[in-house]
Symmetry: C2
Subunit: 279 residues, 2 copies
């Protein structure tokens, strides 16, 4: 296992960790001040800054772009909706290409409005990814399916386990893999086996950390800072690195109640300290 | 598939559906008024009524006891804690035997206080179930492992999929099976395959229904009335019956915000109507 105790060069800041009020520039400058080696911007923050300016800012700061968040949301109640989603995903691929991102993270989408047909939603996702993958290959952008926690199956992503994501990858060939986020997968009895499988197949595109709080007060925005919850973070990182992952550990914490209200430097300092001691 | 449109004889009322304020007697009388064929009492309600009185009340009403909720909670930080849990489970087995319950439902327990070791918790659960199973066999009570939704892995149950529960059953032999609750398993990509497996192996002990609401406002107590959420209930019941399940459909709805505050007869009438139309 790599030694993270020395500094923050092996950490990447997902812009969501600073909350919706902070800009991409806030995030880039925070990374520089705290020695964080990478960044993973959400697309709304890229749009606010402007893509060209975002690229200049990140390049000048010398930050690795561990991912762009996010593509996906392939499911829709009708064909025009699905076509719109594909067009949006092509734009997301273009942005990831411009920023030289390690991958475009895919949050695949849940049930279309009014639907109770999870099988159909999953077929729509498979079709949407296949269509996007051709475009991504030509742009030399790697797609990373992020299996989301089963509690988001209805409204965010109907790909809910690493096994399911990797099965999908099996049918798609090169240029696609998975983003492993501990928040979504820590409970999975097959976790170790599926991480090893992802490594063997060359599918480990990204590794995201945060923690699972007990109690969890909100389904969406009560993720914990590493060390404040119950996830065996070192064990999971050990498995991911054992499987060949050499990328940065991306910190993505949705925390409306605890962290987002705090000053940027307090969030960053805590994240860096926890990166050293807990990740 | 069985025809549920005629009445409520194939429904069972889990006492949790009426909320914590109502007694076992309230529940039994509600079943009689609304033609509901079965009941599944929580142990606190049995204790309030007294076991002998509970038995008389349910027998006189002619209700099928589809389960007793619940045994389990096998995990603990130390050996005395685990011994206490085993003693408590023996008492739960005795109650299930007295009531002639179809099974004792096991919510197996999550991480012990201070632990981040899910593997260890799962070993504790396997040991606890094995120890309880001997006692249950001698009392002729069937144990039913209820895999809980992964969002409860930390604090309620570290058995989180049907596959995981059935793997555990494989090692234990006769007298144990699973309780399939749609709330916990509806998202599982392996659901159909694992229900079929449970049927083949003679492990289908109980079937619980409610619905998954979007949004879900509380992790614990915002389950939906059947038909108000996104679960494909008929499809899942079809799979369960195809696999050989002939028991009652038990309605278990934790709903602090919506249903518990309502009058008993409103909850019951809605449940019976939805049983006809949506389950």
């Amino acid at each position: 296992m790599r030694d993270l105790s020395a500094g923050a060069a092996l950490l990447s800041l997902n812009t969501a960790t600073l909350g919706p009020r902070r800009s991409l520039q806030d995030a880039v400058e925070a990374c520089l001040r705290h020695g964080v080696g990478g960044i993973s911007p959400w697309r709304d923050k890229i749009a606010e800054a402007g893509l060209a300016q975002a690229e200049r800012m990140i390049k000048r700061a010398g930050l690795t772009v561990t991912g762009v968040c996010r593509g996906g949301m392939f499911t829709a109640a009708d064909a025009p909706g699905r076509q719109q989603a594909l067009a949006e995903n092509r734009r997301a691929v273009d942005e990831a290409a411009t920023l030289g991102a390690a991958c475009l993270v895919l949050v695949v989408g849940g049930l279309p409005a009014g639907s109770k047909d999870l099988g159909d939603a999953r077929r729509q996702v498979a079709d949407g990814i296949a269509a996007t993958l051709e475009y991504a290959r030509s742009a030399q952008v790697r797609l990373a399916i992020e299996p989301l926690h089963p509690m988001y199956a209805a409204d965010r992503a109907c790909i809910n386990t690493l096994a399911q994501a990797l099965d999908l990858c099996d049918g798609l060939g090169e240029g696609i893999g998975v983003a492993v986020d501990v928040y979504h997968v820590w409970w999975d009895p097959e976790l170790a086996a599926q991480i090893a499988r992802a490594g063997r197949d060359g599918r480990l595109c990204a590794y995201h950390v945060c923690d699972w709080l007990v109690p969890t007060r909100d389904v969406l925005t009560d993720r914990g800072m590493m060390g404040d919850g119950v996830i065996g973070l070192k064990e999971i990182r050990g498995a991911v690195e054992q499987a060949g992952f050499t990328g940065l550990c991306e910190v993505e914490i949705f925390s409306a109640l605890t962290w987002w209200p705090k000053p940027v430097d307090e969030i960053m300092a805590t994240m860096v300290e926890r990166g050293r001691s807990c990740v």
